[in-house]
Symmetry: C2
Subunit: 333 residues, 2 copies
């Protein structure tokens, strides 16, 4: 491991440093800002494993030339409710920023819209795409695949990506309901953090390199394999994510992405599927109050917590951000 | 339990008997045929718990007057890609038959279509709606809720329905890929069969009436509660199903359906969400061969079986169907 320097800075200062680092490594101004915004946003919500923890991966993919730091997406309406977005080999955040207003307008006009994204490099939390859509009053679903990391149910070798699926639903006067969950029994980021902290994980999370159950996250990450959540049912969800992402979009399946990737540690080139629905176009004028009564009932049950609520509680709890940079890089600033 | 008479008949004879029973109890000809077709179809595929096992429930809802056995659906295009379907208080099978060609045409024309169904009584396997759409070359997703049966993650009381979600994807020259899974760790039908056979179920399937883990399916079914698959992740999927079904469609959430139901043992009045996508409209002309290569890779992995494949293998293995009728009813035939 290269030596690192730790920084603890106010949000705005941290943003400036991270943007500068990304620009030094080859991002243009807009891409540096968009990538930084996504990392900082999840840091503010306390999702550290998708925050600046990912900066070295972004840097690695710029250094290796895998990702074009100056790319701009091409957005095409194939049909009024079908978008095709070519990321032209750039990072996902700027692509997602540019497609967002197009999705919102199409959903509000046509009731439903689906976008297939290709040639993007996705390395961030997936709730970042559905939350703004839900804030705009839409129901939103997004999914993406990755490099092989999860064994199909019954198997012992990595085949699916972590294959997150995120879903958002609007609430009036409250943050939207949002969940974002990997098809793996535990998110790769959580496993990496557990390994770093020398902690064990529960049974059913992964197998070691011999295909045996293990509770050591390092054994799972180094030559072992993660398992899908909920046995064959999570495995089915992972298949659905592969099909909506790679099958529908014409992007690489996770097992294909591995063959094409240069192994620099950054995100592979891949696809993403986003669905946006305007519930107000489906015939029930009372949909927002009706669904809110459901959330109130649910969150009022003893022992039950709404998915995503912990993130909203944490939001803005701190205005300081802590991260590390390689010593060489820190010296250049 | 009332005394019953067992029948073992060739498929066509069984159909005639079941249709006759449904007509005697109040279904018109078309509804009797449609309901019978769905039950027989799942019997042929070996899914006994959604087959004629459900006939007493259909009968109960006709006898109690909860369901209108002569209903016809109203299908409205709210927008080119948004359908609203009012089942007018009938059973789901005829509604689904009538909406199917409309869905197929809309998806093939506009790339994507979503239907919200209301005022229907759903009591069948959900793969029955997505498989014909996938056979027509579409990617299809369907979900529906039910009466409270599953506790949210962390909770101890029934709140979600079993909330199945079914997904289909076309294959060339092969049966489509289809999965259909409840948000419960085990389908209610499987639990009922296990209870009937005095078998135990694994840990994590449900709690007894005191909120304690149990492996006795009768304890789960009688005053206890089923748990979601994959802990909080399956619980999130169950929430998504409630929102897409009840929130979007303006149908009762599962906890509302309980309050409105007459407890006759048949299906409550509810909603359903169906999404159909034509992958050929999303910009990748190679999508079918590409996704098929994924299925080939996946099914070639050691220990891995494609979801739904067991059903396709079983299909047509037998041309005899076994079922029971109440003695009084059998006498009337």
């Amino acid at each position: 491991m290269p030596k690192t320097v730790d920084f603890t800075l106010p949000v705005n200062e941290a943003k400036k440093v991270v943007e500068k680092v990304l620009r030094m490594k080859g991002c243009d101004k807009e891409n540096a800002r968009a990538v930084t915004d996504v990392m900082i946003r999840v840091e503010i919500d306390g999702c550290v494993f998708h925050g600046l923890f990912r900066l070295p991966g972004y840097i690695a993919s710029l250094e290796s030339g895998k990702v074009n730091g100056s790319a701009r997406p091409d957005i095409k309406h194939l049909l009024p409710s079908v978008l095709r977005v070519d990321g032209n080999g750039g990072f996902a955040p700027l692509v997602l920023e540019e497609v967002r207003p197009v999705l919102i307008q199409a959903a509000q006009t046509h009731g439903i819209v689906a976008a297939s994204l290709i040639n993007t490099h996705h390395f961030a939390a997936l709730w970042c795409e559905v939350e703004p859509l839900a804030e705009a009053g839409l129901c939103a679903l997004a999914c993406t695949n990755y490099l092989p990391a999860v064994a199909p149910f019954g198997g012992r070798r990595p085949f699916f990506g972590t294959n997150p699926m995120a879903f958002g639903w609007p609430r009036e006067g409250k943050p939207p309901f949002v969940f974002d969950q990997a098809s793996a029994a535990m998110a790769r980021g959580d496993l990496m953090l557990a390994a770093k902290a020398n902690e064990t994980v529960p049974d059913g999370i992964g197998l070691d390199q011999n295909g045996q159950q293990t509770t050591d996250p390092s054994e799972i990450l180094n030559g072992g394999v993660m398992l899908p959540f909920g046995r064959h049912k999570g495995s089915s969800i992972a298949i659905m994510v592969e099909l909506l992402t790679a099958g529908l979009c014409g992007a690489p399946f996770s097992h294909e992405a591995a063959a094409a990737d240069n192994g620099d540690g950054g995100p592979p080139k891949g696809g993403e599927f986003i669905l946006a629905i305007d519930p107000s176009k489906f015939g029930d004028p009372n949909w927002l109050a009706h669904s809110d009564s459901f959330f109130e009932e649910l969150s009022g049950l003893h022992g039950v917590r709404l998915p995503g609520s912990r993130r909203h509680t944490r939001r803005g709890e701190t205005d300081m951000i802590t991260f590390s940079l390689a010593q060489d890089l820190a010296r250049e600033l």
